[in-house]
């Protein structure tokens, strides 16, 4: 499930509308301690955001907000769920 969400996010970042990686990131962050959503946010910004003039990497910021913002809630209600072997 976790790998599937990551794959969905990657495919969405490359081919689909921006809402797809956002959904994948949000669901992953709610369900798992999903550090990989940082990669998804970074991928969207690296693919589509020009380096100059420097502007806000919104998807990277969103991934950080989701990862750290939802962490206390996730830890409270879904302790022990990792979705990946050994995680």
């Amino acid at each position: 499930m976790r790998i599937g969400l990551f794959a969905l996010g990657v495919l969405g970042a490359i081919f689909g509308p921006p809402v797809l990686p956002l959904i994948a990131m949000a669901v992953s962050a709610i369900r798992y301690p999903a550090w990989e959503i940082l990669l998804l946010g970074l991928l969207v910004d690296f693919l589509w955001l020009p380096a100059f003039p420097v502007s806000l990497p919104l998807f990277t910021i969103a991934s950080l907000a989701l990862l750290w913002g939802l962490e206390p809630m996730r830890r409270e209600f879904m302790a022990g769920e990792s979705g990946l072997p050994g995680w």
Binding site: G12, A13, I14, F15, G16, P17, P18, P33, W35, L38, L42, L43, V44, D45, F46, L47, W48, L49, P50, A51, F52, V54, S55, P57, L58, F59, T60, L64, L67, W68, E71, R75, A79, G80, S82, W87
Partner: protein, 261 residues
């Protein structure tokens, strides 16, 4: 309980490590002038071309034969419609320019430029950007104008915002949230981008604007940047909303890049 705490501690350490790694990658990219994002785009390029090949192979395999016929007809009609829109827009722009040039006793010359294919998904970007298959090796430079149509009567749809060696990132003039000073029916207005080639502007209700009018901008070298698609007037209001559209990038196979002015 101890195992839970252990897992929690490990999890937090991993999240911190991932966050620090992210900060490091971002800093490296910034310091290298965007080299890492250029690598990411280079890596995604085969995926984009493979995606379009797979889509054609699936539609050509006959697996969805009944759907395929309808889809092909639909696609062909969409392409034809987009082409006709571009041609109609070009004709209007040329007519307007010819009138101006006659007034100035000048001569219009085809602006030299580069035709480039659109190589990325055109609707996937949250920032109103897309990739074209031409770069500095083809003479493309930062700030160059990107047109739908040719240099004579084309509509400016964007600017090159990050040129690479063989591909460049283009930012649409009407990217979501972008603001552009434009002229409609001789009146200066500020158009606000809504993405997908759409924008809107507030105009005084007394301004004589009609659907099909050409929108110009000094930020695009005085060239056309769109056409008035629709107008919404509220009774009693001093302003009316003018909806501006350009040919959607997703329906353009190629664009024309000309040097910035």
């Amino acid at each position: 309980m101890s195992s839970y705490r252990l897992n929690n501690g490990r999890g937090a350490r991993r999240l911190w490590a991932a966050t620090l790694a992210l900060a490091l990658v971002l800093a490296l990219d910034l310091l290298s002038g965007g080299a890492l994002r250029s690598l990411a785009r280079g890596a995604a390029l085969p995926a984009w071309s493979a995606g379009s090949r797979i889509a054609s192979a699936v539609s050509g395999s006959g697996f969805f034969s009944s759907r395929r016929a309808l889809q092909e007809e639909n696609d062909a009609l969409k392409r034809e419609l987009a082409l006709l829109r571009v041609r109609a827009a070009e004709a209007r722009v040329l007519r307007d320019e010819a009138e101006k040039l006659r007034a100035l006793s000048g001569l219009a010359a085809l602006t030299p430029g580069v035709a480039a294919p659109v190589v990325s998904s055109a609707s996937g970007s949250p920032y109103g950007t897309f990739l074209i298959g031409a770069g500095t090796e083809n003479g493309v430079a930062n700030g160059d104008l990107v047109l739908a149509g040719n240099g004579a009567g084309g509509i400016v749809i964007g600017r090159v915002s990050e040129p690479g060696a063989r591909r460049s990132l283009v930012t649409e003039l009407f990217a979501p949230g972008a603001r552009l000073e434009a002229t409609i029916a001789g009146a200066p207005l500020e158009a606000e981008g809504r993405g997908e080639g759409n924008a809107r502007a507030e105009a005084p209700s007394t301004l004589p604007v009609a659907a099909g009018d050409v929108v110009f901008s000094s930020h695009a070298g005085g060239r056309a940047v769109g056409l008035v698609g629709a107008i919404r007037e509220e009774p009693g209001s001093a302003y009316k909303t003018v909806f501006i559209r350009t040919p959607p990038v997703s329906e353009l196979g190629f664009v024309y890049v000309i040097p910035r002015e």
